[in-house]
Symmetry: C2
Subunit: 424 residues, 2 copies
Amino acid sequence: MTQLYQAGKGQITDEIRKVAEYEGIDVQKLTRRVAKGHVVIPTNKNRNTKPCGVGRGLRTKINANLGSSPELENVQLEVNKAKVAVEYGADALMDLSTGPKFRAVRQAIMESTDLPIGTVPIYQAGITASQEKEAVVNMDEDDMFQAIENQAREGVDFMTVHSGITLDTVEKVKRSERIMGVVSRGGAFLTAWILHNQEENPLYKNYDYLLEIAREHDITISLGDGLRPGCLADASDIPQIGELLILGDLVKRAREADVQVMVEGPGHVPLNQVEANMQIQKTVCKGAPFYVLGPIVTDLAPGYDHITSAIGGALAARAGADFLCYVTPAEHLSIPGLQDVKEGVIASKIAAQAADVAIGLKSAWDKEMGMARARKNFQWEKQYQLAFDPEKARKCRERKPTPESDMCTMCGEFCALRMVKDNL
Amino acid sequence: MTQLYQAGKGQITDEIRKVAEYEGIDVQKLTRRVAKGHVVIPTNKNRNTKPCGVGRGLRTKINANLGSSPELENVQLEVNKAKVAVEYGADALMDLSTGPKFRAVRQAIMESTDLPIGTVPIYQAGITASQEKEAVVNMDEDDMFQAIENQAREGVDFMTVHSGITLDTVEKVKRSERIMGVVSRGGAFLTAWILHNQEENPLYKNYDYLLEIAREHDITISLGDGLRPGCLADASDIPQIGELLILGDLVKRAREADVQVMVEGPGHVPLNQVEANMQIQKTVCKGAPFYVLGPIVTDLAPGYDHITSAIGGALAARAGADFLCYVTPAEHLSIPGLQDVKEGVIASKIAAQAADVAIGLKSAWDKEMGMARARKNFQWEKQYQLAFDPEKARKCRERKPTPESDMCTMCGEFCALRMVKDNL
């Protein structure tokens, strides 16, 4: 009885109704889109999640990645990051913890919010194997599926599974001239596992079983792009597109099993390849919601990858991406801190809004019109209210007082708006 | 004997030779582009400027706006901003001072660097009129041309002139349903002047005289977009495009007078209109270099307009813009401080590099390949060297020490690159 199953029977679920209302979209139309798999609503039955629609015709959503690493683990810090992400407008959170207390972090994040929560269960399987069996590559099939079932019961709403990493795709990587190889962590766990064990990926081989678990709890499967490019030169190459073709097949099988499914995408992509990547995903995966990381459009700006990915993300969302995974200024350098999370969320909000305006979403345009009128009328408080970061805007303007309350220090008495108004 | 004149005669000037060498482009080809006006090299004969080419086939250049306002005037601060802009890679600087000591600021900035310097001489005319004749609108034709001649002799390399603001375009603004009216400061000075005096804009009426001055000193004319949109809803409207058509005519006249000329562009533009704006400018203005401010693709992010404009700027430069004017986080709020200048320059560098990669510029690709190889090989020092902001990248990674020198805290032992390498 997943959202997809019910929508397919023409049933309007509570979740669909709430999403339709929030998005200002006809409920019948939304039901049809959920039934087709063009929209997903990640809501695990074991959790009281605020329904959030992702897909065609809806506002572009953004996700914030949180979680510890073996080098930095602090449960309260992760909860604080979650709060900051929610405060600045994240639509979903992923817990990607890989520190030893990953269970505690996940639980604390899930308790801190009602936003949809995503995970990558292979991390749990890999870390546990690393702790108990000496190495990640010693995890077995049971470890992988136990992690999935375990997290399913805990209420995780969407799960990244790298079922597209297969014996064949690993061969493609070995034969390719990729510079960066495998940069997806989950993808690397499974690539290393395949190389070490010389066996097929259990998440591919037993994909039907995986779908059974997902169906039981109505978990949305997020098909991971384990072979996403890790630098611009690797973009759109044979391993990446080869994996995408497998994902297209896995989308079909998920839908046939009434399991909601979305697809993850690159990565590091030159600006001129971003649209093509979106179009190919949408055709190959039959309109499945596309969840992109970045794309990062230049690698020369470590410390500023929230900006490199806001450029790629805006273009991607305009060309069909539905869900932007934020990238923080700490990307490629360290685990993000609180300020990084804030900046990452805001940069993603900017990209999403720019795209939503470009595709003509009324709610996005209404906000722009509101800001334009507030500016025209020198209504500073109104401008702060409409801003993604009211506090930063206020502080910046109030650095130095101006003689008149509606001025700013940029032009002072030589304000363009004022000068023309006075002479009209 | 301007660059354009000499190139038209097939003469390879020292400036053309230096630009060709720096850009890695054939010197004959560059000479032809300068002769056609598709490339400009702003170098006032009265100043020893480092030659910098702007236009077709060259690396996308970025400009940093500096200068005081009536509310904040500090000569040393402006010099420090200039130094920061140069340090982080600005290709040109504009002094837009409107404070009472504007001459001192301009002089100090010009002495601090050999980058091309641009100004908007109508500011000087307007401020002087405001000081001596009670109001900006009381400036007369002589005041305007004296400011231009004065700055020409001082060595200004390129000048923004709003010759496209005419009695006719002002009528178009009055009849239009624009929300924001005129947001260009120079545009507003002249619009107000026309409204007040009910006379034609002297910079339009006596454009030939303006060209004479420009030719004498080989100043590059930058045709200002006085009617650029100030919010997304005003983009690509009749006043904006109407002014652009006049600029197209003025480009032709400048070239006929052997004066180097470029054209300024919007402004606030929805993402889906950016490419169209670039294409229309390039056709209407016959391939003149396009100098864009932003474009800003959403107005909801005051405090982050370096990001909103990096998105628009990247897309613009990919679609033909040649010169990006930076926008700082302080835009719409206050005059920028030192940190704002730094962030603005870096965001513009990101946009320019993303576009240069997309259009296949070899030098841009080489840098990306260098960074990819440094990442693959865990060469952190090399990564910092290649980064737009080495210090920020280093600080971010070194927030917390890692057990091994080539690790980072993002994944620690669970590093994707390392895991696959170990199992290959």
